[in-house]
């Protein structure tokens, strides 16, 4: 199956300043991380969500405070769209004072209020099902982000089976960017995600739009049904990863990388509203520059002093 996000076109729905800020904060934050890696300042690894920022930003308007969000290895955007705290997140990634999790978790293991990320693929789905079991009937839901590659993990199916049997409010958001690290979907997935969800009697909705406003309009009634019925739902986004899997490990041919770039929201929003976009773009770029400068100057974090 070829994953094709919507071609570049003018946004159907204008974004407010807050949404644009959120999108651009994530974009500049991720770019800054790759830059910091190039400088040799960051340790370990990091997985940026360049190109996929619109998904958590679109969803942030549909999620409520009482909802629990489970994120994965590529989670900076999920976090920043829900909690705009680039200082705490960067401090966590850099192991500096004010780190969200005292520097123990790093890029992939964040727990803040009702946001939790962990680094083993698919591991969070049973946990999210347990949380959703507790939330059922309260109107709140558990939202778990996974990638297309995660559908190779058995935990996904064990959890979907239970979530459907037990009618729990579980929203599974699939960021299908067509590639699992370096392995294209065609080489790692038989059949389709839609058919797999159908096998468990779980509703599935495919989203090809990259327009946050349009996505919200489509998903609002579906997510409402997750809360009120309650019932699980799989929302599969056809999206593109603009950057490498982690730091510099992009093995895709140039034409494929170019195709991914063509679906990027950045130029589209810039063209649609040049003056406002340029203003907020500059504002967020400078904000991230200040965050990097300030956090880099902090002393090392000590566990136990988590923010």
């Amino acid at each position: 199956m070829t994953v094709t996000a919507a071609p570049a076109r003018s946004p159907l729905y204008a974004l407010d300043d807050g949404d644009l800020r959120s999108l651009l904060l994530i974009r500049h934050f991720e770019r800054a991380l790759l830059h910091l890696f190039e400088q040799g300042v960051l340790s370990g690894t990091t997985h940026t969500c360049l190109g996929q920022e619109y998904i958590p930003v679109a969803l942030s308007a549909l999620l409520r405070d009482a909802d629990f969000v489970f994120s994965n290895h590529r989670g900076h955007g999920h976090f920043l769209a829900r909690h705009p705290d680039p200082h705490g997140l960067l401090a966590e990634i850099m192991g500096r004072e004010g780190a969200l999790c005292g520097g123990v978790g790093g890029s992939q293991h964040i727990y803040h209020r009702r946001f939790l990320s962990t680094g083993v693929q698919g591991e969070s789905l049973p946990v999210a099902t347990g949380v959703a079991l507790k939330l059922a009937g309260t109107g709140a839901l558990a939202c778990a982000y996974i990638g297309d590659g995660t559908w190779g993990e058995g935990a996904v199916y064990e959890a979907l089976n239970m979530a459907s049997l037990w009618r729990v409010p579980l929203l599974v958001v699939v960021e299908h960017n067509g590639i699992a690290q370096s392995t294209p979907t065609s080489a790692q997935m038989a059949g389709t995600i839609a058919a797999r969800a159908a096998a468990f009697g779980v509703r599935h909705h495919h989203v090809s739009s990259t327009d946050a406003g349009e996505i919200r309009q489509i998903l609002a009634p579906l997510i409402d049904a997750v809360r009120t019925e309650p019932s699980p739902l799989v929302v599969e986004f056809a999206t593109h990863r603009l950057g490498p899997h982690s730091k510099g490990d992009d093995t895709r041919p140039p034409e494929e990388i170019r195709r991914a770039a063509e679906s990027d929201w950045y130029d589209r929003y810039a063209e649609a509203d040049p003056e406002r976009f340029a203003r907020i773009d500059r504002e967020q770029r400078e904000l991230v520059e200040r965050v990097v400068a300030e956090v880099s100057a902090r002393p090392h974090a000590r566990p136990g002093g988590a923010a």
């Binding site: 123990v104 946990v127 949380v131 935990a155 239970m162």
Partner: protein
């Protein structure tokens, strides 16, 4: 007289009645079946949706339990046969245990994973194992085991009080034995966590044995034979908490220590106990601590072959005699 399985069943009834935040999940735990070993009998009828018979999904059950714990409740998960806990290894070690400390501050995960353990019932290689050793030394994870001497209700309260996931082993053979009953030659007392079984009126024992709940009766049989036929006096220590290894009382006078563990040889709980004891007893021990384990083989189904692999009373007796000879 109460059988261990009935005692556990009553403890679960009491716990679920006194604490409405406790959930119980597992394969076939609901009535009228009441669990493969009947330990959960009567719970689903009384506590409704807080007791769930689940699909065959050990990993997800452990994960769901961790999710309930994360959301502020408490969860007991039954793994039908302890061997199958391997299917939940990721959820237990990588999620539940790590989550208590990898987010920079303590995150409580009150989750107890019950594992019916051990052999001598002819269930064969995939239904007879004691997987304790695979979970020793996992940061954030504690290991406990049911014994005939410890109150199960107190153990559940203690495990939940830790705020970290616990594996709770229950020997399948122990289920059928009586609580609080020892061989008529011996008496027992509880010293904090540890049951001390001793010969009334005897002075310093020739050997102090350390074992876990499932091996208590086989070890007592060995102690009886050692006393009556070999004139060797043994004392027995049985901790309910297996890991981290608790302080074991009264060993200062022990001329010899023998740890008996039904895990297969190599990387065992017995080795962990010995490691904990050596720094404390080094200058008093006359010889290395004896480790008695099951053989480094799979556990056969045929009873005569199974017997050869698993620790039995005569193998414990032989090990003690040889060490003291």
């Amino acid at each position: 007289m109460t059988r261990v399985s009935e005692h556990l069943n009553q403890a679960l009834h009491d716990l679920m009645e006194s604490d409405p935040s406790v959930h119980l999940l597992g394969e076939d735990v609901g009535d009228p079946y009441g669990g493969a070993f009947k330990v959960t009998r009567g719970l689903s009828g009384r506590f409704g949706s807080r007791v769930r018979s689940t699909p065959l999904s050990e990993g997800a059950i452990a994960g769901v339990g961790a999710g309930l714990a994360l959301a502020g409740d408490k969860a007991i998960v039954e793994i039908m046969f302890a061997d199958f806990v391997a299917l939940a290894f990721d959820q237990i070690t990588n999620f539940a245990a790590k989550s208590t400390s990898m987010y920079g501050r303590p995150v409580p995960v009150p989750l107890v994973v019950r594992c019916p353990t051990g052999g001598n019932r002819g269930y064969g290689p995939t239904h007879s194992q004691n997987p304790q050793k695979h979970f020793i030394g996992v940061p954030g994870l504690s290991l406990f085991e049911m014994t005939p001497f410890h109150d199960a209700g107190e153990l559940f309260a203690r495990m939940f009080g830790l705020g970290r996931p616990c594996l709770f082993f229950e020997d399948k053979v122990l289920y059928t034995r009586q609580m609080h009953r020892v061989d008529d030659l011996f008496r027992y007392e509880l010293v904090d966590d540890v049951a001390r079984v001793y010969l009334d009126g005897a002075g310093r024992p020739d050997c102090t044995l350390v074992t876990h709940g499932g091996l208590v009766h086989r070890t007592l049989d060995a102690m009886r034979a050692l006393l009556l036929e070999d004139e060797l006096v043994c004392e027995l220590l049985v901790p309910a908490q297996l890991y981290p290894v608790p302080r074991l009382p009264g060993l200062e006078d022990a001329p010899h220590v023998c740890v008996v563990d039904d895990g297969t040889e190599g990387g065992t709980w017995a080795a962990e106990v010995a490691t904990a004891l050596y720094p404390r007893l080094w200058d008093r021990l006359r010889r290395p601590i004896t480790l008695v384990n099951s053989a480094d083989r799979v556990i056969p189904a045929a009873p005569h072959l199974e017997r050869e692999v698993l620790v039995q009373a005569d193998s414990i007796r032989a090990a003690v005699r040889e060490a003291l000879s």
